[in-house]
């Protein structure tokens, strides 16, 4: 019985990893490739690790596997966001059949910081010329994403 659970979990996880690898080769655009990387591979590796935890059936191995899965689920979206932000600022092209580019024309090319939204700049007029400091892009990015 345990053997069949291990076989099922490792098979599903391996299929997710394989589909992610095929998508990484076949997708036409960097941003689509990043979405493949983040979602499918994290789920696949998590399932394979869970099958290892079920096989060993030990509290130390289970805690170790839980730590790895938690760390993956925390860091994979952050890493994908950071590398996609760097790709957009360094001028990676979108696919030619992409329809919406929400960031187009909304960030200053010199200082690499997003322009503020209109209602924000109206409500707080003192924070308009702060785009030269180092910390301002990340703050504005987090406010954009939320």
């Amino acid at each position: 019985m345990t053997e069949w659970i291990i076989i099922f979990l490792s098979t599903v996880g391996t299929l997710f990893i394989f589909l992610a690898a095929v998508g990484l080769v076949r997708m036409p655009d960097f941003y689509l490739r990043v979405s493949v990387t983040t979602k499918a591979v994290t789920l696949g590796v998590g399932l394979v690790l869970v099958s290892a935890a079920i096989y060993f059936n030990d509290i130390s191995v289970t805690s170790r596997v839980t730590a790895i899965i938690l760390f993956l689920f925390l860091t994979a979206p952050v890493a994908a966001h950071v590398i996609t932000r760097a790709a957009y600022f360094t001028g990676t092209k979108l696919w030619k059949r992409s329809i919406i580019d929400d960031l187009k024309g909304r960030y200053e090319d010199k200082t690499i910081s997003l322009e503020e939204e209109e209602d924000v700049s109206e409500s707080s007029p003192s924070s308009k010329n702060n785009s030269t400091t180092q910390e301002s892009p990340s703050e504005q990015d987090s406010s954009e994403d939320s």
Partner: protein, 94 residues
């Protein structure tokens, strides 16, 4: 067919083929960010291979290495993106 034969003859070849496909993207990637995410994916795919191999050899010690590799993959991606942005800033200052 026992569990070990199944893992050895079906799971591991599929993981190896996916690793090969990711390596193709590492070679042909048109931009440098494509290569960065291909490196990240190679390490994450290696985590799955380590987990399957620890089942096959009945050695749970290999999972420690998997934890360290997950750390290194995240650090590598963040460092690459930091230096890419920094390179663009210095180029525009000139």
């Amino acid at each position: 067919m026992s569990l070990y034969e199944y893992l050895n003859y079906i799971i591991m070849p599929i993981l190896s083929v996916s690793l090969f496909l990711i390596f193709v993207r590492l070679l042909i990637g048109p931009e440098i960010v494509d290569r960065v995410i291909a490196l990240d994916l190679i390490i994450t795919c290696g985590l799955g291979i380590i987990a399957v191999y620890s089942i096959m050899t009945n050695q749970p010690t290999y999972l420690d290495i998997a934890m360290i590799l997950a750390l290194i993959a995240f650090l590598g991606t963040v460092a690459f993106s930091y230096f890419l942005i920094k390179q663009k800033k210095t180029r525009e200052d000139d």
